[in-house]
């Protein structure tokens, strides 16, 4: 995953400090009750603390006071470590929120009485502005609230929101009319209609999202919580029933004494999925945080999660798949004309043409036929710009030559007017260019047609590989374009896309999305224009470009601050990572239990049934050290896994089965083996330090 400019080192000291303090504050039962697994640990910690107090006060506790104290301390640590992971994740978000908050200041606003530049205004505070109010923003002013430009053009510094220092243009009408509160107008002026009430602005939303204040549990998180609650209940039952089982065993053999509450609590905490339970909030917050680091603001965690499930991506052709402009790739002369003459004429006609297409003709003529650029003044050329009426451009030279280039029918009409004829042999060349997805640009000198320039959409480098990766992830790509089906098919094939929608209109886009959803697909798309809004609202994951209109931003459930359409791919990966991290740690957590049984069961019951010592396959030193080692391992594994929870499990695009196999080997098998080693090591350390 590419790192953006906002990424932070994982263990930033300025975050760790407050996080430690915060992890103690979070011991509050009102906070813990939200997480059933950790709430059980809290109850266990309180119970063992009580048992320890009873042991030192009454002189005959159920076990040695030091042992109860040691267990109790490590249970408290388990809680604190879990809280710490959550605080760490939140801290990273908070740092980001703080920088955003700086942008939200109490700006003075110039409230206009009429939506017209020049009408009288009244200076008010931004906080009293309401939806529908009209304000004037002049150079140097901050835009007080989110709004829609109704008049004027201005350059605006949006770095506070996007982190992008280059100013952007905002103007009334069209797709660049949305402005965000907290950004600053650098030049000119804007008349803005306020589009949100205080506290509901984009910035407020971002801050709330980043801080996790509005974090709701996502559907998969809820389902996982249910699963974790079931495991917690099962293990609660297992440990609670062990007491009667133990009493029965002691009575019937006459040896040993019933298992202590301390040991049962220790066993319970070791068995319930504390690793995933403790890290679950951190994983969710960190997922959101990774989204923000990718410069994407999601309006809900649900959207982030849905991103991982997407199976169809709708991508706009221009700017996403292709470079956004066509380039000349070949000169094809008409019958009897030389290719050099064509190239020469085409180059002269394009010298003053600053469009990318024009530049590419100049470059191609120079590279392929060695025709050097000539100074336009030497030629005494008069540039004829492109207009929508003529649909061609060209030059009139000092020596009387008139060169034109343009669309086929435009040139055909042009030469016909001059009593020229359009050569028939060129028609087949033009057809084959069209069929291959290119655009034919015909060049004529006066009434003589010289030939045709093949303009081609250039597919972005590396994009084909990217789509192949997506396909291996099971995601289909569909290209959306206004081109005709012929052109669209050719480009889609070149870019390696699965499908395309040609001559797309807002209606056809919406229809396509609905059809796919009816077929059970989850659809993601990007958009920026107001005409994209219906489709964005319908799509499951809808990423609006930050440069887009307010309508588009409101319809989407994510906003990409970089306004980069290929960001969708990154968003999908972040969504998948989020789920994978949860799944892998759940597996790890449950797999851990096997070793804990082998540590605790023989220790707890060897007094009654010495034969059970055979189950102590780790050869832990004493029953007390065995139980303590298991509890310590259970607590510190949380700390060890914090980086993984914050960074997320690495995601590589590959088929589902291979992904599952790899993750099962690492987190399933690893989860069974690792604690055997860990518990044994801790036991050896405890023995070496004479702590048991």
């Amino acid at each position: 995953m590419s790192k953006s400019h906002k990424s932070k080192s994982l263990f930033d000291l300025s975050i760790i400090g407050p996080a430690i303090i915060d992890s103690f504050k979070k011991l509050d039962p009102r906070h813990q009750i939200k997480n059933p697994v950790m709430f059980v640990v809290l109850i266990g910690s309180i119970m063992t603390t009580g048992l320890w107090l009873q042991a030192i006060l009454s002189q005959h506790g159920e076990a040695p006071a030091m042992f109860i104290l040691a267990i109790s301390i490590w249970l408290w640590f388990t809680l604190i470590f879990a809280n710490f992971s959550e605080s760490m994740a939140e801290g990273r978000g908070k740092a980001q929120a703080a920088s955003l908050r700086r942008a939200r200041r109490d700006t003075p606003a110039k409230k206009l009485s009429k939506p017209k530049f020049g009408s009288p205004y009244q200076a008010v505070s931004a906080t009293i502005l309401r939806k529908g109010d009209i304000v004037l923003v002049e150079a140097g002013d901050f835009i007080p609230m989110d709004g829609e430009v109704v008049d004027g053009v201005a350059s605006v510094d949006e770095s506070a929101i996007t982190g992008e220092s280059a100013p952007v243009i905002r103007e009334s009408g069209g797709d660049r009319s949305a402005v965000t509160g907290g950004t600053r107008v650098l030049s000119d002026w804007l008349v803005v209609r306020i589009s949100s009430n205080p506290g509901e602005t984009f910035l407020d939303h971002m801050i709330a999202m980043v801080e996790g204040a509005k974090r709701q549990k996502t559907p998969n998180e809820i389902a996982l919580s249910i699963l974790l609650a079931v495991f917690t209940l099962i293990f609660l039952l297992v440990t609670v029933t062990l007491l009667p089982f133990s009493i029965y065993s002691v009575n019937s053999t006459g040896f040993g004494s019933p298992v202590t509450i301390t040991v049962l609590v220790a066993l319970l905490v070791c068995l319930i999925p504390t690793t995933i339970g403790g890290l679950l909030p951190a994983i969710g917050i960190a997922g959101m945080d990774r989204m923000i680091q990718a410069n994407v603001i999601a309006t809900s965690g649900r959207a982030v999660e849905a991103a991982g499930d997407v199976d169809v991506l709708l991508l706009d052709k221009t700017g996403t798949i292709t470079l956004g402009n066509r380039q000349a790739t070949a000169f094809i002369p008409a019958g009897g004309m030389s290719v050099e003459a064509l190239a020469d004429a085409a180059q002269i006609a394009s010298l003053s043409d600053e469009t990318p297409e024009g530049r590419s003709i100049v470059v191609l003529a120079k590279e392929k036929y060695g025709i050097r650029e000539r100074n336009i003044h030497d030629l005494q050329a008069k540039f004829i710009p492109f207009t929508a009426q003529t649909r061609m451009s060209g030059v009139d030279l000092g020596d009387g030559r008139q060169i034109r280039k343009g669309a086929v029918d435009a040139i055909e009409e042009y030469v016909a007017k001059l009593d020229g004829s359009f050569p028939d042999d060129l028609k087949s060349a033009i057809d084959s260019i069209s069929r291959s997805g290119g655009t034919p640009l015909v060049v004529a000198e006066h009434k003589k047609v010289l030939g045709v320039v093949h303009l081609k959409d250039i597919v972005k480098g590396g994009i084909k590989e990217r789509f192949a990766q997506l396909r291996s992830m099971g995601i289909k790509t569909v290209m959306i374009t206004g081109d005709n089906p012929l052109t669209a098919a050719a480009i889609a094939a070149e870019a390696g896309m699965d499908n395309f929608l040609a001559q797309a209109t807002p209606e056809t886009k919406l229809k396509l999305i609905r059809e796919m959803q009816a077929g059970g697909r989850l659809v993601a798309m990007t958009g920026d224009g107001t005409n994209d809004a219906p489709a964005l609202a319908q799509a499951d994951v809808a990423v609006a470009m930050n440069t887009g209109t307010q309508a588009a931003k409101e319809a989407g459930n994510m906003v990409d601050l970089d306004s980069n359409p290929t960001k969708l791919i990154e968003i999908v990966e972040i969504g998948k990572q989020l789920l994978m991290t949860r799944g892998s740690l759940t597996t790890f957590s449950i797999a851990n239990d096997v070793s804990k049984y082998f540590a605790i069961i023989p220790a707890a019951f060897a007094g009654t049934y010495p034969a059970l010592k055979a189950l102590n396959i780790m050869h832990l030193a004493t029953p007390d050290s065995a139980i303590l080692s298991a509890v310590i391992f259970n607590a510190i594994i949380i700390v060890f896994l914090i980086p993984l929870a914050l960074r997320g499990v690495a995601y590589k695009p590959m088929p589902a089965s291979r992904l599952l196999r790899d993750n099962l080997l690492i987190y399933g098998l690893g989860g069974i083996i690792a604690p055997f080693i860990g518990i044994k090591l801790i036991d050896m350390i405890l023995v070496a330090m004479h702590l048991v």
């Binding site: 209940l233 019937s252 697909r521 892998s584 034969a611 589902a656």
Partner: protein, 583 residues
């Protein structure tokens, strides 16, 4: 392990697997209402049943209506069986003049047979009239099995249908399961069993003179023996096929008149697993992807086979304490060797072990040997197979729908591990399904562990334990594992015909059956409403060896983690003590 062990077990497994596909297809066609022979010939009978009972077969029910119909039918069944037992003294077909069954025992028995558990706290030949056996128990043997199959079929429809609010008609599923599947199979099997010597008669008990008189406990000479008879074959066939397991005679299929020959034994043990195994194929067939059915069957077999050989191994190995005492436990041409305590000599080690494993893997519970007399670890195998939730074949219908609950959990975890909202057969698995699957996974352990915990502490419950120490503990744990998973197998060694156990085990059976069935119907309803997501590259295939293995791991880990401590204090410590000679 001897060659005989291997040959017999391989023949058994191979025959079972060969029958899966034909029977599976047949059942699928019956449930889909497609012509399959019997349902064409007997269609008038089916229509006649509907008309007589005012059933409108074309109406498809919502899951709640389906569940209500199922509960109504089952509760009525419990009431009828209870009433028959209480009133049998005044009713027909009571040649032995059996008195009314006590209330607590009648309750236990009624629940036991309606829930397809068939736990027996009574001895059939000394407690029940022929009428009670036939009209009460045999009927329940059929319809309790059919109930399980109906629920499964409704669940399968949930996977097949898209965006539909209903899951089928309970009465139709019940009638078809009984009329076209259970009845024909039971008729064929009873006839074969009769040919082998299983009794089928209304005659009262016969008296025969002993060849060699013996002395009774009171010192009087005994010259005659009473041979109890009855309409056994018809009940034996369905008790095996419908994973019921309630024997006509007290010692169940160890009785020579219930299971006389090696052939009758082979057919009976095969019948235990056949429908449950074939239903996996039916499932795959109905969801239009037979690989899915084979995958689930494979997961079951992967757990079953090692359990089977573990059981055979420890039984064939015999008792080390006896070996120390110089007893020859080697298998020879003249003796089966191993631990023969509690076994019929006509079956020997391997047939007893196959039966013990099969009857507990499926929720059958019939026996041909006494599990209480097994070696600790081979006795643990049947107990653990029940504790796994009766999903390794399990009860007819209920085994597979229980397994699908595990599949839901497995799909959920693996879905997260690959970064996708989990889906199974194109249906998204969301929190509602998880909640229901969670209940299904949770109820049996609660019933088993809580029941055992109370029983080893409560004085009147403890008094019923006949053996001290870990073995006594195993007996209680086994009883609740059996009732709490609707198996009905008894370890013995525990006097359960008393007020406490009759009520406690009765409730255990009731909860274990219906608190699992209803949530699974809710899953069926919820799935039925969902769209079907077409599979793609990112979809996790659920028929691959990897997923099968993962499913196996989930079943084993949940089962092992839940019961390891209890098993450690029962059979495991008994084994360790015995082999280690520590105490």
């Amino acid at each position: 392990m001897t060659l005989n062990n291997i040959i017999q077990s391989v023949i058994f497994l191979a025959t079972l697997l060969l029958l899966v596909k034909p029977l599976g297809i047949y059942m699928a066609r019956i449930y889909e209402g497609k012509p399959a022979g019997l349902n064409v010939w007997f269609a008038p009978v089916e229509r006649w049943i509907y008309r007589l009972s005012a059933i409108r077969p074309e109406i498809s029910m919502s899951w709640k209506t389906y569940a209500f119909a199922m509960m109504l039918f089952n509760v009525l069944g419990i009431i009828v069986v209870y009433a028959l037992q209480r009133l049998q003294a005044h009713l027909l077909l009571n040649p032995m003049l059996m008195p009314a069954v006590p209330a607590d025992l009648a309750f236990n028995t009624a629940v036991s047979f309606a829930t397809n558990t068939n736990w027996q706290s009574y001895g059939g030949e000394t407690t029940l009239s022929y009428l009670t056996q036939m009209l009460g128990l045999t009927v329940q043997n059929f319809v309790s099995a059919a109930t399980g199959m109906a629920i499964l079929v409704a669940l399968i429809r949930g996977f097949v249908q898209k965006q539909i609010d209903t899951i089928g008609n309970f009465w139709v599923d019940l009638v078809r399961s009984t009329l076209y599947i259970l009845l024909p199979l039971a008729i064929i099997l009873s006839l074969v069993l009769v040919s082998q010597g299983v009794v089928q008669t209304f005659e009262p008990s016969a008296k025969v003179s002993l060849l060699q008189p013996t002395k009774g406990a009171d010192g009087n000479e005994i010259t005659e023996q009473v041979i109890t008879l009855g309409p056994a074959a018809s009940q034996v066939a369905i008790k095996q096929l419908g994973t019921n397991g309630g024997g006509f005679f007290n010692v169940n299929s160890a009785h020579p008149l219930e299971n006389p020959t090696p052939l009758s034994n082979f057919l009976e043990v095969l019948s235990i697993l056949i429908i449950s195994a074939a239903l996996c194929y039916t499932f795959g067939f109905m969801v239009r992807d037979t690989r899915q059915g084979w995958a689930i069957l494979a997961a079951m077999v992967i757990i079953f086979v090692p359990c089977l050989y573990c059981c055979i191994y420890f039984e064939q190995k015999g008792n080390p304490l006896l070996a120390d005492a110089g007893v020859n436990q080697k298998a020879t041409a003249f003796q089966p060797g191993g631990n023969m305590e509690g076994k019929e000599s006509r079956f020997g080690i391997v047939d007893s072990a196959i039966w013990a494993t099969a009857t507990t893997a499926a929720s059958n519970g019939s026996v041909n040997s006494m599990h209480d007399s097994f070696m600790p670890l081979s006795g643990m195998i049947p107990m653990w197979l029940m504790q796994l939730g009766e999903v390794i074949f399990g009860g007819v219908g209920s085994g597979l729908y229980g397994m699908i609950a595990f599949v839901i959990i497995a799909v959920f975890i693996s879905g997260l591990m690959i970064g996708r909202t989990p889906e199974y057969l194109g249906k998204k698995i969301e929190s509602y399904e998880m909640k229901m699957a969670a209940i299904v996974i949770l109820i049996p352990p609660i019933v088993v562990l809580a029941g055992t915990a109370v029983s080893v502490i409560l004085p009147q419950a403890k008094a019923a334990i006949l053996n001290p120490g870990p073995h006594g503990f195993s007996e209680v744990l086994y009883a609740f594992s059996s009732a709490g998973n609707n198996n009905g197998s008894a370890f013995a060694g525990l006097s359960t015909n008393n007020l406490y156990y009759n009520i406690a085990l009765g409730l255990a059976m009731f909860f274990a059956r219906y608190l699992l069935a209803i949530p699974m119907l809710a899953v069926a309803g919820s799935l039925s409403k969902k769209k079907i997501v077409p599979p793609g590259q990112g979809t996790l295939p659920t028929h691959t060896p990897l997923f099968i293995l993962f499913l196996v791991m989930i079943v084993l880990i949940v089962g092992a983690l839940t019961f390891f401590p209890a098993l450690a204090l029962g059979p495991i410590v008994e084994h360790l003590t015995m082999t280690g000679g520590l105490r």
